[in-house]
């Protein structure tokens, strides 16, 4: 409900908003969070728990909330697993619970069985018994939180790169102070201040609301910041509603900022980003991340309306809402008194139960006593009463045992029981400094006995911690701490000569006098004492994990799932460590924490992707002839980043019909192909020839200008990494071609050899892939066409031989014409400056009409080369194949003086074993069956002895052909092997095939000169 006449700095009561939650309409106000608006509307249950399906209400007020998971909006704006506490209300918002607490839930129905479902239950019951496959589907449907989105996200997300001297994480008292201190004492340092809330100030205005001066300080200092912010060329950037969720190496921090209005970006005329991912590189980081309160442990502590004391106070002071009328506050420190005073000031009936014995009361305790609040000291809550929502508590007196046995806690609860009634319970078991971010990148924590918390390690380079994360809880102390740390940062940046430090006394690091973790064994041994609400982990689960031999907290975490999930155990994890310490009988420091990893809070996939979606996901490369392919109706295939024509369907042809037609034209008359995407590297220098000779396996010293040669490139392991034809322009100049996909890595590898090993060679490399367009003219009529296109070159087969190139003018354009072939047919590749590519393509098409010239794509190219047994590196080889494995011993030079790359490895015994996978041809006994690529060849024992790498239907041969890697295949010619395939409707089938050579067509190579 809402408090009458509440004055808030945050809520604008003049702006009512309406929203929908679980299909019901509600009203809230500008400034509400979804959680606060629902409290105002008396909504008590937010979701069901993960494992047992228990109805759960709110526990926190911020990112620490474990229970209230909702999904926002529908369709293309659907966002799963948001915490209701971190969603700022906007008009028209619609949300549903991750699992609806008001509908039927199977997990809740089997309630009587819950006690038989401890940690490890599913594993022991189903996986160990080998029946997992039978139950997996139904169990999976029960698990998880919100449903995954099913539609394309219609919002846009942005990435912003930020650079700053100082990044202050946390906009509470410490963060504000630190930012101002830097700005005031440096004339140049840029500052970015990040806070997860919409307003700066953190807990100040709720935690210290009874202190009027806190409001004055807040207004004064926020105004100072805004003044800096509004300056022209401001050095200050304030990011609110933004969470720093990850800290990576070299002070690289990622911050996710939500579009404050939350309105649908579609409704606005300009599409603005729903969320912005800031990628911040900072010289110095000041962490003022604060602390999360941790709850107290007792039986059925998960009932609705059991909340954190700090959260109750924040809902009351900031939002003017409360979810009960009779409140009990329970804890082991003074924070609960501060909440009690707040409640009392708002005339809400409350009672305090403090586990600490009377004596040594601080100011706030005395203030609460003076206000007439009912206080029970030295009492503990054993159990919360109620079915789904709290109705009361059972309490007992706490006694201290005189001699605590070893490390176990010294408390014992007396047998006397009292029952108290309440409808809201607020607890505080102390504070967990938010050390997460600091630990993402190597920071360690240590357990501080004095403040009873894990604190960030004292000194880290370029990082300071101040305020509550440094266990300085009182706001006036935090101001001093923040100023000191900012001064230290200024000193390390050289902005001030000597940091001016005002010392703090020791007491300020436990302002609330937090007592030791309250873990009496009488409570821990009860069922349903929940540690981790989100994953339904209880104290008994931890005990079981330890009994079963898990001693490390990392193992206990994984066995029980404690600290998993979207809240990452922000409220539960440290309590879990205390419980483990109790059961293990060791000090907290010995148990330690689990590892904190990014991300601190959930990050939308959309935000990670930013604008790099759809067309912007990866660069797209097109040849200069691309438009022509589009006009011809080509289907495209992605090769590396290149869009290459795959095939050119005509009149409703499917891929097989089109490919058969294209292949037939090439074999019988004339085809043309855009080969511009092949990698081209210009190699120049006195030692160019020597260089090629070192990186290729074959000989290059005698290759004359005007000639070309095919080369195979290996790495030092002796494995094939690339192949291609290089042309000798002159003794100091070669053009190397590489595979389309391998161009970048080959270029890089060649540079590595030149720069790191062979700096004495006079060789310069330049990538010229994009500078040349290549049109391949292929088929028995190619020579006739070339003679029409180019008059200044003699195309006679004696003067212009296979594997030669000639300079000439093709249709008036300077060209290098190479007579090379990837199909076995007579072929010329016309290389021209890239901008002439389209022109030459069109001229070739026009002049080729008499021979019905046919453009063909990569699919036909694959069929044509497979018919000839030419390998494709990366398809027929996979980085573990030597030239011997692909039956290419002929390309290994024996007498080169320099031991070329890979050569030494060829003589290693393992690479000469006869049962290596070797490239062979496969001919199916039934000529019409086309084997699927990747299908395995199996031995008589049913074991894989190889697999199919390439497989096509060859129209020229009227049958299917395949290339395969087969164990010892080269010595199995004409033998029959079985290939196991899955056929539609027929299931698994074994296809008998004959092992053959890998050249299927024109075995003697007679077609390469054409048919004259």
């Amino acid at each position: 409900m809402r408090i009458d006449n509440h004055k808030s700095n945050f809520i604008d009561y003049s702006q009512p908003l309406s929203f929908i939650f679980n299909n019901k309409s509600y009203k809230g106000y500008q400034g509400d969070s979804l959680a606060s608006a629902l409290i105002a509307n008396n909504v008590r249950f937010f979701a069901r728990s993960f494992k047992y399906g228990r109805k759960r209400g709110l526990m926190g007020a911020g990112v620490e909330e474990p229970n209230a998971l909702v999904s926002l909006e529908i369709g293309g704006r659907y966002t799963p697993n948001m915490k209701a506490t971190e969603v700022i209300l906007y008009d028209g918002l619609s949300a549903v619970s991750s699992s609806n607490p008001n509908s039927f839930d199977f997990r809740a129905m089997i309630k009587p069985l819950h006690r038989f479902m401890p940690a490890g239950f599913y594993y022991k019951t189903f996986i160990k018994q080998k029946v997992w496959s039978l139950v997996e589907d139904s169990l999976r449907s029960l698990s998880g939180f919100s449903k995954a989105p099913s539609e394309v996200d219609e919002d846009v997300y942005d990435h912003v790169f930020q650079h700053t001297e100082i990044l202050v994480v946390g906009g509470g008292v410490s963060g504000i102070t630190a930012a101002l201190e830097i700005l005031n004492h440096s004339k140049t340092a840029r500052v970015i201040l990040v806070d997860e809330r919409e307003n700066l100030g953190g807990e100040l205005l709720s935690e210290f609301s009874t202190d009027e001066s806190s409001f004055v300080w807040h207004e004064d200092n926020v105004n100072k910041l805004l003044k800096f912010n509004n300056e022209e060329n401001s050095r200050l950037k304030i990011l609110t509603y933004a969470t720093a969720y990850a800290w990576y190496d070299h002070n690289y921090i990622e911050v996710l900022q939500t579009h404050a209005s939350g309105q649908s970006t579609q409704r606005e005329s300009v599409q603005s980003a729903r969320k912005v991912l800031h990628k911040i590189r900072a010289k110095e980081v000041i962490l003022a991340t604060g602390a999360h309160e941790r709850p107290m442990l007792f039986e059925t502590n998960d009932l609705a309306n059991i909340m954190l004391s700090q959260s109750v106070r924040r809902y009351l002071e900031e939002f003017g809402v409360i979810s009960g009328r009779k409140v009990i506050l329970y804890g082991n420190n003074d924070s609960i008194y501060s909440t009690a005073v707040s409640l009392n000031n708002n005339s809400i009936n409350c009672q305090v139960i403090d586990v600490r014995a009377p004596g040594g009361e601080s100011e706030i305790v005395l203030k609460a006593k003076d206000s007439g609040i009912d206080i029970l000291q030295g009492y503990a809550i054993r159990k919360a009463n109620g079915t789904s929502s709290i109705k009361g508590v059972e309490i007992s007196k706490v006694e201290l045992q005189p001699k605590p046995p070893h490390w176990q806690s010294q408390w014992r609860l007396t047998k006397d029981l009292q029952t108290l009634e309440c409808d809201l319970l607020a607890t505080s078991g102390g504070f967990n400094p938010v050390v997460h971010l600091d630990c993402h990148c190597g920071g360690k924590t240590y357990f501080d006995e004095y403040s009873q918390s894990f604190l960030p390690q004292k000194n880290r380079k370029n990082r300071k911690v101040c305020g509550a994360v440094n266990s300085v809880g009182f706001w006036r102390d935090a101001i001093l701490d923040a100023k000191n740390k900012a001064q230290q940062s200024l000193e390390s940046m050289g902005e001030v000569k000597k940091a001016s430090i005002q010392p703090l006394n020791k007491e300020c690091s436990n302002y609330y006098k937090v007592d030791r973790f309250f873990t009496p064994i009488e409570i821990l041994n009860k069922p349903k004492v929940f540690i981790d609400m989100q994953n339904d982990v209880t104290t008994l689960d931890v005990a079981l994990a330890i009994r079963e031999g898990y001693q490390s907290i990392e193992h206990i975490k994984r066995y029980t799932a404690m600290g998993f999930g979207t809240d990452q155990g922000k409220t539960g994890n440290i309590n879990g460590i205390a419980v483990a310490a109790e059961f293990l009988d060791v000090p907290m420091s010995e148990v330690g924490t689990t590892t904190f990893r990014p991300a601190y809070t959930g990050v939308d996939f959309g935000a990670m992707a930013g604008r790099e979606v759809g067309d912007f996901f990866d660069p797209q490369r097109y040849t200069t002839i691309h438009d022509s392919h589009v006009e011809s109706g080509a289907e495209f295939e992605l090769v590396g980043q290149w869009y290459r024509p795959w095939f050119y369907p005509k009149d409703g042809e499917d891929i097989h019909q089109a490919v058969n037609r294209e292949c037939k034209s090439v074999r019988n008359s004339l085809g043309m192909m855009d080969a511009s995407t092949l990698g081209k590297i210009d190699v120049q220098g006195k030692d160019a020839r020597e260089f090629l000779s070192r990186v290729y396996t074959n000989a290059w010293m005698k290759l004359a200008p005007g000639s070309c040669r095919y080369g195979l490139m290996c790495n030092e392991k002796g494995m094939i990494i690339d192949d291609g034809v290089s042309a000798c322009i002159n003794d100091h100049h070669f053009i190397m071609t590489t595979t389309t996909g391998g161009a970048a890595s080959v270029y890089s590898t060649l540079e590595m050899w030149l720069q790191t090993e062979w700096s004495d060679l006079d060789v310069h490399l330049n990538s010229v892939t994009d500078q040349f367009s290549t049109v391949a003219v292929v088929g028995p009529n190619a020579r006739k066409l070339m003679e029409i296109l180019c008059q200044d070159v003699d195309f006679n087969k004696e003067s212009f031989k296979f594997m030669q190139w000639r300079p000439g003018r093709v249709c008036g354009v300077n060209a290098r014409i190479m007579r090379i072939s990837f199909s076995g047919e007579l072929a010329y590749e016309i290389n021209v400056e890239a901008n002439y590519g389209r022109f030459i393509w069109d001229q070739v098409a026009l002049a080729g009409k008499p021979w019905k010239i046919t453009p063909y794509g990569t699919e036909s190219m694959h069929v044509l080369r497979a018919e000839k047994g030419y390998i494709i590196v990366g398809q027929d080889t996979d980085g573990s194949m030597t030239p011997m494995d692909v039956n290419m011993n002929w390309i290994l030079a024996k007498d080169k003086p320099f031991s070329y790359i890979g050569r030494r490895s060829f003589s290693i015994a393992a690479l000469n074993s006869s049962d290596r996978l070797q490239l062979v041809g496969l001919l199916t006994k039934d000529a019409q069956v086309v084997l699927p690529e990747g299908a395995h060849i199996i031995s008589n024992q049913g074991i894989s002895i190889g697999y199919v790498t390439s497989s096509y239907y060859s129209s020229a041969l009227g049958r299917s052909i395949a290339l395969a890697q087969l164990k010892g295949g080269l010595s199995m010619m004409s033998e029959t092997v079985l290939v196991k395939i899955v056929q539609e409707k027929q299931g698994l089938k074994e296809i008998p095939c004959e092992v053959s050579g890998s050249v299927f067509y024109d075995v003697k190579g007679e077609k390469v000169d054409g048919n004259e």
């Binding site: 190496d249 070299h250 990893r597 990866d618 392991k717 890089s748 590595m752 031991s899």
Partner: protein, 111 residues
């Protein structure tokens, strides 16, 4: 698989690593995105591979020190000057301690 997708998947598996590297040629501190690692430094290619035993050759091809602590490695400024250079990096804290061109530092004077 596209390179962007590959990089993204790698970052998911290995976590985001985001060094700042001072390129000794460009004389600028640039984001790691622009660079590619190129293995441990000072592993010279043997002068006469044919004279080595299989074990010695395998040592050159496969075996690396996998050193914990300050470690010299090769990097290349792929999206910049395309030069290979040397980086001394702590494999514990990922701090870049020193960068150098191949001329300045070699296996003898490296520390």
């Amino acid at each position: 698989m596209s390179m962007a997708l590959q990089a993204w998947l790698t970052s998911l598996v290995k976590g985001n690593i985001m060094f700042l590297i001072d390129c000794p040629y460009c004389k600028e501190s640039r984001d790691q995105n622009e660079f590619s690692p190129a293995g441990e430094a000072f592993i010279a290619r043997p002068q006469n591979p044919e004279a080595l035993s299989d074990e010695e050759w395998a040592d050159y091809v496969f075996y690396r020190t996998n050193h914990k602590g300050d470690h010299w490695e090769q990097w290349v400024h792929t999206a910049g000057c395309r030069k290979y250079f040397l980086v001394k990096r702590s494999t514990i804290s990922h701090e870049v301690i020193q960068v150098s061109t191949f001329g300045e530092i070699n296996s003898e004077n490296a520390s």
